[in-house]
Each structure stands twice: as C-alpha cells, then as structure tokens.
Symmetry: C2
Subunit: 294 residues, 2 copies
C-alpha cells in the first residue's frame, strides 16, 4: 500500500474518531446511555464509510472539513446497525472485533436504546452543520433514509434473517448484500460527491461504483471466513458454514468467488475511469477492499 | 365534549391513518417488514400527537395539508418507541391496546427492525414534503431529533428503566416523563406552530404549554392505573404497583396527584392565553387529556 494512502487513512481515522467522541460527550443524556453509545463507537474498525466520504471529497479537490459531520453520521448509523445485529434475537454475537458486544456489557435494553439513540442523533449531525446549505442537507438526509431504512439496510437485514439456514440463489444473496452493505457504502461515496458539488452524471457512476465495491467487500468477507487468520479477522474462521449461511463461495466455489471478486473490482474501477475527475483515492481504496485481510 | 371537537378528532384521525398506511404500502421493502410496521401503525390509539400538529395549525388558521406528513412522521416515531418499549428486554409486554404486541406476532428480531425502519423512515416523510421549504425541513428535523433522541425520548426511556423498582423523587419522576412523554408531545405542537409560521414568542409559550400538557397526560395515566376501567384502558388496573413503578399517586397520594393534574392543566392553559391567537382546539384538547378515561 502506498505511503500516501496510509497517511490518508490514518489521519482521517483519527479526525473521525475524535469528532465522534466529542458529539457524544456533548449530549445532555443519561450517563449509562452515553457510555453505551461511546463503547460501540470506540470499538474501532476500519472506519471505511467515513473514509469513503472524505476520500471522495478529496478526489474532487474539495475541502474535506464540511464532510466530517456527514462522515460521522454514517459511522453512527453503521454502529447502530452492528449493535442491533449483535442482539440475542438477531445474530446473538458475544464478541465483536475481539471485545464483548454492547448488550453483553450494558444489557439488552440499553443496547437497543443506544442503537436507537445513534440512529436518531445521526440526522442531527447532518442538520446541524452550518457550512452545508439547507437544500443539500435535505438531499443528504433523503439519501441517508433510502440507504439505511426499510428500502436499504433495514430491509437487507430482514431479508438476511429470513434467508438464514435456507439455500439462497445468487440473486437472493445479492439482494441481501446490496441492501445490507452496499447501499450505505454507496451513500458514503455519493454523499461525499454531493458535498463536493460533483456533476449529476458522476453521481450515477459513483452509485454503480459503490454497488460493485459493496458486493466485492462482501465477497472478500466470505473468502476471509474460509481463508482468513482468526486473530486478524477477530472471529472464528468457518462461522458462516457453522451458522449455515449462504455465501458466495458456497454458491460459486472458492475459486468462482475469487473470480467474481475480481470482476466486481474491475467493474467498480471502470466506473471510476468515466468520471469527470481522476479518482486516485477511490481507486486505491478499491484495491484495499479486494486485498484486505480483516 | 363539543361536537366540533369530536368532528375534528374523527376526521383528522381518519386522514392520518389512511396516509400512514399508504406510506408503508409504497415502500420497496421485504413484505414481512412492511406487515410488521403496518401491524403496529394500524393498532389504533388516540393519535394524539398527529392531532396536536393539525390542531395547532388549525388554531393558527393555516391550511393543515402541509402538516399531514409531519404528523405521520411523529406517529411513526411514537409507534417505533412503543414496539421497542414492549420488547422482552424492556417492559416485556404481551398486549398493547388489547392486541398481541409486535414481537409476539412477528418475533423479536423483526420487531426491532420494524422499529428501526419506522424511526428511519419518519425523517423521509419530513424531507419529502414538496410544500415545505428546505430551511423549515431542517429545523423540523433538528427539533425532532432533540425530542426523540438521546436528549429526549430515548434518554427518558433509559432513565425510566434505571428507575424501575427504585423509589424515585418527584424530580427524578418528572425528568423521566418530561423526556419520555412530554418532549414528543411538545414537538407535535411546536412543529405545527413552525409550519403555521407562528411568531417565535408563541413557540416558547407552546413549548411550556406542552411540558405541562405532557406531565398532565402522564399523571392522568397513573390515576387511570388506580381508578380506570380495565376494559376501557386495555390493560390490567394496578400494573404500576405490581411492577413497582414510581407514580405520581405513590409520591403525592391519589388526591395530591389529582391536584397536581389540575395545576398542570391550568398552567398549560395560561400559556395558551398569552399566545398571539386564540387556541380553541388546543384548549379543548387540554380538557380532553385531563378527563380522558383511556
């Protein structure tokens, strides 16, 4: 990985993480709730979604400052979804990134409410940024609902649960991952492009780019569940097979899944090559997603 | 109750209920999710919050049409909060308004996601109304987050759970009800006033009005738990005592609570009398809250 990309990732991760904590500290809310929200926000992770916002703005040569709040809003939405997904009634996970899940530490009721709180507050981050005009805020919030709500992530999660222990077709599997994963990744890129006043033509291409990136991200996840290093990925290898989850390798074979991953990454990059700008960072992030080991 | 008020309540309830269903039917989302969201939205209730939006607009002599989406958004937020409150990890209720609770019918996972979906979608209702300008939309969403998020309803619910089976002071009890109940009622009135372009002075008075109305609403709830008719209120009388909940009658005695109710209703009305308009409907709704039997 090039030094420039590493610098970008580390410096932006730091900005996002500091800002996320300060948003929660500022809240006038019960301490237990704030601690529980902070616990999951501090649990780390790649911060891929906020980084996509800032990388897109950077590629469009736009000052990234006005994007930080939107980037944090997306990370809050992503974090709420992880807290709710881990609940006993959903995936019933005890560990996330090697740490006890939110409900294991704060109890189920507080975990549900911490998720609800993060989701609600995420809209405030967008609404309160003084440097974004109201029309853009409304557009950003509309797109966020589409990506995160019943027509996006929430719908994908319902489909995912309904598909558990069932043999899914490739089409059904792609519906789940498009909605559960790709739409919020896509929103990260598109919100960055909206904030950078990218041409509407570019927005459509970036939406397609993100679709391919999101599916590639998920295929890589499935491959890591077979070939990954447990200590690096932070969960047991083979958990998909154990949980009878339909995966890309299960449908396409491991080699077939690897081929599919390459195809999606190439399709993603070819969208980038048709943009009005040269998207250096997004292209490098593409390779990162394809090759990541966790 | 006067005929005019009855007409108003029935006709607006019908408009709200029809509109709520059509918002869900339109969604491109998994059928199970839509059914689960519809189930709780259709479960009835007084629709007090949306009616407060439209009543406020009517009192300001403003066409109520542009308020319907905002009124529905508030009812979605209220409904999501009921679904999550009823979960086994929260109040563990099997019945609501005499019908099985959402998780009893659709399972816990879908109930959590139906709540998440309603909360997320509520912002879309505001963002998508073409007759509201963007500045007003952003203001309405900012105020909704304050009322419904960690600094409002979600914070109140955390405090409520932490206070269970504890002897609370009057101050602690009021913190819970102000946040859990009064703030969303207050937002209903204030959003109606914002949509009606009410003077800023009036907004402050309406916020105070709503605080008193919300606390009065809760005191009446506590009194009904002692004196109510089980069939009319739709749940067993005495459940607060059974669940060891701190109530106004427990702190102030039944007579003391009744006095307090009258005081809050009078304080609410006195705020109305200082407005720039004559708030006929809001004043009548005040009496309705004080005297309601369910």
């Amino acid at each position: 990985m090039k030094d420039m990309l590493i610098d970008f990732l580390l410096s932006r991760k730091k900005i996002i993480e500091e800002q996320l904590l300060s948003y929660i500290h500022e809240l006038k809310a019960p301490e237990t709730l704030k601690k529980s929200m902070l616990y999951s926000l501090e649990a780390g992770g790649k911060r891929l979604r906020p980084i996509l916002v800032l990388a897109t703005m950077n590629d469009y040569n736009k000052n990234e400052n006005i994007g930080v709040a939107v980037a944090c809003a997306i990370e809050m939405v992503h974090t709420y979804s992880l807290i709710h997904d881990d609940l006993p009634c959903m995936d019933d996970d005890d560990l996330r990134r090697g740490k006890p899940t939110n409900h294991k530490v704060y109890g189920e009721a507080t975990a549900v409410l911490a998720g609800d709180g993060l989701l609600t507050q995420s809209f405030q981050l967008i609404a309160n940024t003084p440097t974004i005009d109201s029309n853009t805020k409304v557009r950003l919030m509309t797109e966020l609902v589409k990506a995160a709500g019943p027509e996006g992530m929430v719908g994908g999660q319902v489909a995912d649960m309904e598909g558990e222990a069932k043999q899914l077709s490739l089409k059904e599997l792609e519906y789940i991952h498009e909605n559960k994963t790709a739409k919020l990744l896509g929103y990260s890129v598109v919100s960055g492009a909206i904030l950078a006043n990218a041409p509407e033509d570019d927005l459509e291409k970036l939406q397609l780019f993100s679709y391919h990136l999101g599916i590639a991200f998920q295929i890589r996840d499935d491959i890591l569940d077979i070939e990954g290093n447990e200590e690096v990925i932070g969960k047991p290898v083979g958990s998909d097979t154990y949980n009878e989850k339909t995966t890309y390798p299960a449908i396409l074979s491991l080699d077939g899944a690897k081929q599919k991953l390459v195809q999606h990454i190439e399709a993603a990059k070819s969208e980038l090559h048709n943009l009005s700008i040269k998207a250096h960072l997004l292209e490098e992030l593409c390779d990162l997603v394809a090759q990541r080991d966790h």
